[in-house]
């Protein structure tokens, strides 16, 4: 019968006793410049891969969860609106602007087979849940220019195929006032022009905006789809005011604190795990450090992504 004692490998004074299964294991790597370079490179790759996986692979799952919640909430709003429309004095209008993050509409683009719940606001946190209505622009289905920004690639990239739209394609928006049909008039890729894309227009139109580049930090080139409303717009309701942080291409600077906390935790956990792997049995170390690393890597990735433009 043989035993294995953790942490005794580097102690030359003690006779090393190993298990039969580890008899053939190669020796530990000697620390040196090569090891250091490889380590730095390995952690960089790990960080980038984790970031990409969280947003591109798990992001759609997270976004779908948010969309389901938003859809349930919006259906409740519609039920109430429908009840009010049948009430003694007719349909309801909202007393004030919608809260940021609240579901305000369902957007349907038949050609793209796209059906998304639109939320109020277009900060990075909001577009992670779904396309966001740009505050300061008209209400959806209402007079003037109503704008929506959505992500190109992160969190499912609901607007990934926006460049596939062409003049004449139909876009449908359902709000608590009713269903509005827009017809695409133009689809262009050009430098984003806040005045033209989010400004007031004499005609009643819908503007869909997303990034034109796969690079998540890109914030200048935009794919812009404009569509004209068919029929009469619904009565205007109070809207939120314009805010620089809510234009769809700005990151959330408030995420720095979360990032520092989560990434700092991740670095600490990684260092701890490295030490423990050197001293403890690998399985025990994994059980203890694996979940911590997973959680902190995910949190750090989510926080980092919030710093990137909201349409990425």
């Amino acid at each position: 019968m043989s035993t294995h004692t953790e942490g005794k490998h580097a102690a030359p004074a003690a006779p090393e006793v190993v298990s039969e299964s580890e008899v053939d294991e190669p020796p530990f790597v000697h620390f040196g410049p090569g090891w250091l370079t490889a380590t730095v490179f390995a952690w960089l790759v790990t960080t980038v891969v984790a970031l990409a996986l969280v947003v591109y692979a798990l992001g759609p799952l997270l976004q779908a969860g948010d969309q389901r919640t938003a859809l349930a909430g919006f259906r409740g709003e519609l039920d109430r609106a429908f009840g009010a429309s049948q009430s003694l004095l007719g349909a309801a209008t909202s007393a004030g602007p919608a809260e940021f993050g609240a579901p305000i509409a369902v957007l349907e683009v038949p050609k793209l087979k796209l059906r998304q719940v639109v939320v109020e606001g277009a900060s990075s946190a909001e577009t992670a849940s779904g396309p966001g209505h740009i505050p300061g622009t008209s209400g959806l289905g209402q007079p003037g220019n109503a704008a929506i920004a959505g992500r190109l690639s992160g969190y499912g990239g609901p607007f990934a195929s926006l460049d596939g739209l062409a003049a004449g394609d139909e876009i449908v928006v359902a709000t608590t006032q009713g269903k509005s049909v827009y017809r695409v008039t133009a689809q262009v890729t050009r430098p984003f022009d806040e005045g033209a894309d989010y400004g007031k227009t004499p005609e009643d139109r819908l503007t869909l905006v997303t990034s034109a580049s796969w690079w998540p930090l890109a914030s200048s080139e935009a794919t812009v789809v404009t569509a004209a409303l068919e029929g009469k717009p619904f009565r205007p309701t109070p809207q939120n005011g314009r805010a620089d942080a809510q234009d769809g291409r700005t990151g959330d600077s408030g995420a720095w604190a979360s990032l520092v906390l989560a990434f700092g935790g991740f670095v600490a956990a990684a260092a701890g795990a490295t030490v423990l792997y050197r001293r403890w049995r690998p399985v025990s170390t994994y059980v203890i450090t694996g979940p911590v690393l997973l959680t902190l890597a995910s949190l750090a990735a989510l926080a980092l992504w919030r710093l990137f433009p909201a349409w990425a």
Partner: protein, 780 residues
């Protein structure tokens, strides 16, 4: 084999027999084909004109002039009732069945109108369908108390209509059958089921099957479908006018004043077809006052001056326009009548119950759960002063004879599964709860106290609810004891109590009740019966025009010049009276650039003049006209409207829209001390006004039930998959990502630690590499 056709023949004959069983069941009844010439009855309805009734409107159908023992059954039928029935006329000598047309109205009513009719308002089956009533021995009449139905019948087969029969054409006995099976196997589906609708596009009739003894003592059955009706969805519409115009005033008001404002509009614009003077925006009173203050509305209606206002920046006059009252109203049925055999007969509760302030206070503050125990403070128990004082109430008993449950039936609670315990009312801040609270604080201070249950009433346990501003204040914590189950909007309140109102279900056979805390105009509109309350001399006084006017004459005025609820002292006064005020601006009406709107100002002047003159005769039922004193007061206040300056209006509008934060000096005014809590955000409700056909055309569309329904249908059709993406790959990608995320950082840490790559992993990687190489070699 011989017995098979014989059995089928027997089935056919049995079906035919069943079809006329109703007639056969009545002793010595004669058939409809041979009715006595002049019907011996008179049929009346309230309202008499049924051409423009709304779904849910109270409807009374009375059949008078019939002798004792008469009965009647009501069915809802299409106005143009189908006439395609066949009947069996006999059997030919060769054994062939002889079929012929059956044009009898009675047969058609029975066969085409026999299925349940679903009412849109209540979401339940309509009481009007297959309602049976007996002649009252006391009045000599057969009375149907109903609500106007709107909806459609349950699709069903009609046995003897070839197009809708469930018989097979192949069957030798029904060669006329023409409703083929399209989906064999149980249950069989055929190409057609018969159904009909009653709505604005499909007029219907109240088809009555009346059975009574004729002059010879024989029982005769008549079918009468002479009363037709065209039900429309409930709502308010200004008729005969040209929609909104540039001078149309925006008027914010509680729902209770909507009917009056519609009539006032029509009074001014219908004779000439002009544009509508006032666009009705329905809001709770605190929101209406806020809208007025900020300039979103030109005028507002409130019943309690500035008590519910969260800010009073805009100079205003409170012009009295009518008198109203807070009431506790009962709706339901009581077995107070008797039929000709002496058996109790339920009829709608129309007697005004007499209730003391202590009973009212306890009923609304001591919890609504378990009224058979200590819920509602036990006021509904057998032998309680309240039940003893009101004979009609005492007659309402549990259907199964369980005396312990009598209190439950009287207190209401038939829908406890849905969290309704018998008392409801409109949610949101308003003069109705405020008047209730102000009266009970003064008249029943010892009873207007929450039980000392900390878990239920929180910090208010053992304390008075005080002058409440909304019914929700009576259940201050999430652990509600259902003192009131308030609902948003009158429609929701009606839906809640209509299940009892229609009197369906076994629970209502021996009577049943629900209670509503509301205002008198609303109670009158829906046929709810207000209770009488004591006056200063202890005499019970019902809310009537005279008792409301008596109250107004003795009420005190508050600092804002409005009558203070709960201060009436006149012996003939109904104590919970309040005055309805139109809030109008002292300064001129202005546009967005602060320019005076002369057209609107003239419209306001005309409108205000109307409210004092012709408008007093057009108040909705339940609202009492102003007394001469209040009319003089109104005249004096109207004279001050529009006397200010546009500059001041502009400045106040800016200030009201950007109020000084609480605590800062020079901030906006507040409501009455101790009353006004911060405003609860509510959703204003605008009426669906048709676009103007003259004046400025409407550039926007108002949301309508159809438009919202279209949006709702789209939202309902959306499905968000749990795993976005195509099929299995959609689920595999996140799973793979999770695996990598779970292993990659740990693997990196493992390698960073200088650990050697495990031999098994080396071997596994080598194997994979080998496989890969072999695969490439083979393909090459």
């Amino acid at each position: 084999m011989f017995f098979v056709p014989l059995r089928r023949l027997a089935v056919v004959l049995a079906c035919a027999l069943l079809a006329v069983l109703g007639v056969a069941g009545v002793p010595a009844a004669t058939a409809q084909e041979n009715p006595p010439a002049p019907p011996p009855y008179t049929l009346t309805t309230i309202p008499a004109d049924l051409t423009s009734v709304q779904n849910g409107d109270p409807l009374r159908v009375t059949i008078a002039g019939l002798p004792a023992g008469a009965t009647a059954t009501m069915r809802l039928c299409p106005k143009n009732l189908r006439d395609s029935l066949l009947q069996l006329n006999g059997v030919s000598p060769t054994g062939e069945l002889l079929w012929g047309p059956d044009h009898s109205l009675l047969s058609r009513v029975r066969q085409y109108c026999a299925e349940e009719f679903s009412d849109e308002l209540t979401g339940q089956r309509s009481i009007a369908q297959l309602a049976n009533r007996q002649r009252s021995a006391t009045s000599g009449n057969i009375v149907f108390d109903l609500t106007v139905p709107k909806g459609s019948s349950r699709p069903a087969y009609v046995s003897y209509d070839p197009s809708y029969t469930s018989f097979d054409k192949d069957d030798v006995y029904f060669p006329w059958a023409d409703n083929p099976v399209v989906s064999p196997g149980p249950p069989q589906l055929r190409s057609r089921l018969y159904s009909y609708s009653c709505d604005e596009n499909n007029p219907c009739s109240l088809a009555l099957e009346i059975t009574s003894a004729d002059g010879t003592g024989s029982f005769v059955t008549w079918a009468d479908n002479s009363r037709t009706f065209t039900p429309v969805a409930p709502g308010l519409a200004v008729k005969g006018c040209a929609g909104l115009g540039p001078s149309t005033l925006t008027a914010s008001m509680p729902e209770r004043f909507g009917r009056t404002t519609v009539d006032w509009n029509q009074l001014l614009c219908a004779p000439t077809g002009a544009t509508q003077p006032a666009n009705i925006v329905s809001e709770t009173e605190d929101s209406a006052l806020k809208s007025f203050d900020t300039g979103a509305s030109d005028v507002a209606i409130t019943g309690s001056g500035s008590a519910l206002a969260t800010q009073t920046v805009r100079d205003r006059q409170y012009v009295p326009v009518g008198l109203n009252a807070t009431v506790l109203a009962a709706t339901g049925w009581s077995p107070t009548d008797r039929n000709d055999s002496g058996t109790p007969l339920i009829s709608q509760v129309k007697d005004s119950f007499a209730m003391t302030f202590d009973e009212l206070a306890k009923m609304l503050s001591h919890g609504g759960v378990n009224p058979d125990a200590d819920g509602r403070a036990g006021i509904f128990h057998d032998g309680s002063p309240f039940v003893t004082r009101n004979a009609t109430l005492g007659k309402i008993v549990s259907v199964n004879g369980n005396e312990g449950l009598n209190a439950v039936v009287r207190a209401g609670g038939s829908d406890s599964n849905n969290g309704f315990y018998g008392v409801t009312g409109e949610a949101g801040k308003g003069s109705v709860p405020l008047t209730l609270g102000a009266s009970l604080v003064k008249s029943a201070p010892g009873s207007w106290v929450f039980p000392d249950l900390k878990a239920v009433y929180g910090d208010l346990a053992g304390k008075s609810p005080g002058v409440i501003t909304e019914l929700g204040n009576l259940d201050p914590t999430g652990n509600s004891q259902h003192n009131t189950d308030a609902k948003v909007g009158q429609l929701a309140v009606r839906k809640l109590v209509d299940s009892v109102m229609v009197g369906t279900g076994a629970l209502c056979e021996s009577g049943c009740l629900n209670w509503v805390v509301t205002d008198l105009a609303t109670a009158r509109a829906y046929g709810w019966t207000p209770v009488s309350l004591p006056n200063a001399a202890g005499k019970f006084v019902a809310p009537t025009e005279s008792s409301l006017q008596a109250a107004s004459a003795s009420m005190k005025e508050g600092p804002d010049g409005t009558l203070l609820p709960g201060t009436a002292t006149d012996p003939n006064a109904y104590s919970m009276t309040f005055a309805e005020y139109l809030v109008a601006p002292v300064n001129p009406l202005i546009d967005a650039t602060c320019k005076p709107l002369q057209g609107k100002q003239d419209q306001l002047k005309t409108f205000l003049a109307m409210t004092r003159a012709g408008g007093q005769g057009k108040l909705a039922p339940g609202l009492a006209p102003l007394t001469p004193t209040l009319l003089e007061e109104a005249l004096a206040r109207v004279a001050k409207i529009g006397t200010g300056t546009a500059e001041k209006a502009c400045r106040q509008k800016e200030e009201a829209q950007n109020p000084t934060p609480p605590g800062a000096t020079g901030g906006a005014g507040t409501g009455a001390p101790g009353l006004a809590a911060p405003a609860t955000p509510v959703t204003p409700v605008t009426n669906n006004v048709p676009a103007a056909t003259s004046g400025v055309p409407e550039k926007t569309a108002a949301p309508s039930p159809a438009s919202v329904l279209a949006a709702k249908n789209l939202a309902d059709s959306v499905r968000i998959p749990s795993f976005p993406g195509a099929g299995v790959l959609g689920a595999l990608i996140p799973l793979l990502a999770l695996i990598i995320l779970a292993t990659l950082p740990s693997a990196t840490a493992y390698l960073t630690a200088g650990r050697p790559v495990p031999p098994w992993l080396v071997r596994a990687l080598a194997a994979v590499g080998s496989l890969f190489s072999r695969g490439r070699g083979a393909s090459a």
